[in-house]
């Protein structure tokens, strides 16, 4: 690979080679030196469950139970690594592919399917999980995250005794081209907001290679506004955890924003509507399959005898149960009452919506009456 381009591995923080061999990192190793085997197993568990989940949801889509599914396949290292660095006072703004982080934040993944079954646009209460809704307009949420972080800084200034928190904004390689993402870096930097920009460079924006968004590593975008930047091997869950711990510490302690680029790979299609055979080849897919984030932690833990069959079985059961619950639950969802369509456009009454709801209600009734009259 080119040593200066967006896929360069120069300066990539790595702590576990793709063969599962641990490596020390001068700056960041100390952020993970206290992780015991149990914690590593929990990361393995989360990655494994989320992957199984992803395949389950994909097959639900194939069976026609979902209109669409967006896979996180292959990005479990970046998501679980960064997600496990979060603390109670942190708040996450995901894009739409962060099922791994959602899971860690306690969002019920089954509920997420309501979105993809076309029942509603949001499917959890952000404040309950410190996890904002998925945002489909690329990059738009990066500004919300920045504003939220600006507010957090003000809150903390007003209540210095409070445990500080930070914000993490997730977005993809494609998103870095949007004006909004660039503006969010600028605002965050100028207002010294406690935010970590976590860019999962999965090398594709649908069909477009990351080379359509940049000629240099995406982490340089952070340099353009003078914020610390880190490039990390996104398929190395331990390294992702370490750099995110560092970045969150940095942000929480009032030192301002950090930009992290996690170099990973979208192992699946963009969504279930996509056909990657049109734009990439098997060799490339194989190259990255050999760098699977779960496999390498598996190798590492297995080599140390830390993944018992019992534990594996337990995790497999958890995944299976989740899948079964998904299948039965999804099919049980009824279409909500039609009048729900008019709910929550505004927090308080609005004449136009109200008038239309009333009209619609009568209109629907007229059919019932007609039918009754027959």
């Amino acid at each position: 690979m080119d040593s200066t381009g967006p896929l360069s591995t120069d300066g990539l923080v790595s702590m576990l080679t793709h063969e599962g061999v641990p490596v020390e990192h001068e700056t960041f190793s100390r952020y993970v030196q206290n992780l015991d085997a149990e914690e590593l197993r929990q990361m393995w568990r989360a990655m494994t469950v989320v992957r199984a989940w992803d395949l389950e949801a994909t097959s639900l889509q194939r069976q026609g139970e979902l209109g669409l599914w967006v896979q996180s396949l292959g990005q479990e290292g970046a998501q679980i690594g960064s997600g496990r660095a979060l603390r109670d006072n942190d708040f996450v703004f995901p894009s739409y592919r962060e099922h791994g982080v959602a899971h860690l934040q306690g969002v019920d993944l089954v509920e997420v399917l309501r979105i993809f079954r076309g029942l509603q646009h949001g499917a959890w209460t952000p404040a309950e999980h410190n996890f904002h809704l998925y945002t489909l307009v690329i990059g738009a949420h990066s500004l919300h995250a920045t504003g939220y972080a600006m507010a957090k800084a003000r809150e903390q200034k007003a209540n210095p005794e409070q445990e500080p928190g930070a914000v993490v904004a997730y977005f993809g390689d494609g998103a870095t081209s949007q004006g909004d993402v660039n503006e969010s870096l600028i605002f965050a930097s100028v207002y010294n907001a406690p935010i970590v920009f976590f860019c999962q460079n999965n090398q594709y924006a649908i069909s477009e290679s990351v080379t359509r968004q940049t000629k240099v590593p995406l982490a340089d975008r952070g340099r353009g506004v003078g914020m610390p930047t880190i490039r990390v091997d996104g398929n190395d869950v331990i390294a992702c955890r370490a750099v995110t711990e560092w970045a969150l510490d940095h942000a929480r302690s009032g030192k301002g924003p950090v930009f992290i680029e996690a170099l990973t790979y979208r192992m699946g299609a963009h969504t279930t509507s996509d056909d990657p055979t049109r734009y990439r080849d098997k060799e490339e897919e194989q190259y990255w399959a050999d760098r699977d984030p779960i496999a390498r932690l598996d190798t590492y833990l297995s080599a140390r005898g830390e993944l018992s069959d019992e534990f594996r079985e337990d995790v497999a059961q958890e995944a299976k149960a989740l899948g079964e619950r998904a299948r039965s639950t999804v099919k049980s969802w009824k279409r909500p009452p039609l009048l729900d369509m008019f709910k929550d456009v505004y927090a308080l009454p609005h004449a136009a919506v109200d008038a239309e709801r009333v009209w619609f209600e009568r209109f629907q009734e007229s059919f019932d009456t007609e039918e009754a009259g027959r």
Partner: protein, 337 residues
């Protein structure tokens, strides 16, 4: 009662809201030390400091987007877009995020963001500084849109908008900034006290106002054209035509009931706004009035607005904008039936 200009009334309304609730935070370009290019925020930075009155980077999408984030975290941002013509970089944030978040979150997330926009023409400005983009927002559910026409409404609507849990676009007719009027500064404060204050305020915000009573023609205006409508009514009165002037005050919701009620009495309706007539607010009002009062109308609803051209050089603005001749012409035409 005190006498204030409209700019002064907005300033006073902002100040009152900031004193009432320390989550009210202003953000925008040049609103700090400079007090905004129209001085509407004059003195607020000095009194409330950097954290409450924030000069922002020069990026409207950034301003609206971060205001959304701040609102999610419990703040009540009131942001200024420097001029009408510069709101478009923020259009995506307003249309896809600000307007839809409450719906998307099924009521979990309220975004009490107020977007102040000095708008409309008549001040001899260069390109982009005289536009009336309100219709470009009115089609998007989830936003409330108001536009005051006098200092009292400016003062009241500002505080009501800030108290409202929904996003509000607050269009300020810049040519009227220096118009003076009597302002009762106590009424809204009383309204906002108590648990249902915001609900009452929000309901009131959506109501039109009969600015002048009349029986022959209903002349509807808002923001910058209300003064024009009142002037036209005076002139028409000299010719024996009794014009009722309705100041819409709110564009979303639009109080078409008030107009329909009046139309049913007069049988004749003329609407005037500065924005281009085609696909403007007047189109919706015309359609609704016709739908609801068709059999009471003596004449078709007429519209008097800007032409279907970009806002021209200032030398043309008197003729580009609805002016008294054109309004009276429309009044004459509906009176022919």
């Amino acid at each position: 009662m005190t006498t204030l200009t409209m700019a002064g009334a907005i300033n006073a309304g902002l100040r009152a809201a900031m004193e009432r609730d320390d989550k009210v935070t202003l953000m925008g370009e040049d609103i700090g030390k400079l007090g905004g290019v129209f001085r509407v925020t004059d003195g607020l930075h000095a009194d409330f400091g950097d954290d409450r009155v924030m000069d922002s980077p020069l990026a409207e999408s950034g301003i609206v987007g971060t205001a959304i984030g701040m609102a999610m975290a419990g703040f009540r941002p009131v942001i200024e877009i420097q001029f009408d013509g510069f709101i478009f970089p923020a259009y995506n944030q307003i249309t896809t995020q600000l307007a839809k978040m409450h719906y998307r979150s099924r009521g979990d997330i309220q975004l009490p963001v107020v977007i102040r926009v000095p708008y409309a023409g008549g001040i001899g400005a260069i390109e982009h500084h005289s536009e009336s983009p309100e219709a470009l927002f009115a089609h998007t559910p989830g936003l409330r849109i108001v536009s005051p026409a006098n200092p009292q409404d400016a003062f009241d609507l500002m505080q009501q908008s800030i108290a409202c849990p929904d996003p509000v676009m607050f269009f300020e007719p810049k040519a009227r900034y220096w118009d003076k009027g009597e302002v009762d500064t106590a009424r809204v404060a009383a309204q906002l006290d108590g648990a249902t204050g915001p609900a009452n305020a929000t309901a009131e915000m959506g109501k039109a106002r009969v600015a002048r009573q009349g029986s022959d023609v209903t002349l509807v205006a808002y923001g910058p054209t209300v003064r024009l409508a009142l002037q036209a009514a005076e002139v028409a009165a000299e010719d024996g035509t009794n014009v009722e002037v309705i100041d819409l005050r709110s564009i979303s919701p639009m109080d078409s009931d008030a107009v329909v009620k009046s139309a049913k009495r007069t049988g004749r309706v003329v609407i005037t706004h500065e924005a281009s007539t085609a696909f403007g607010v007047g189109a919706e009002l015309s359609a609704r009035v016709t739908e609801q009062a068709f059999f009471h109308l003596h004449a078709p609803v007429l519209r008097v607005g800007g032409f279907s051209t970009p806002y021209p050089g200032a030398t043309f603005e008197h003729e580009f904008l609805p002016n008294i001749d054109r309004v009276l012409d429309a009044v004459d035409r509906v009176m022919k039936h």
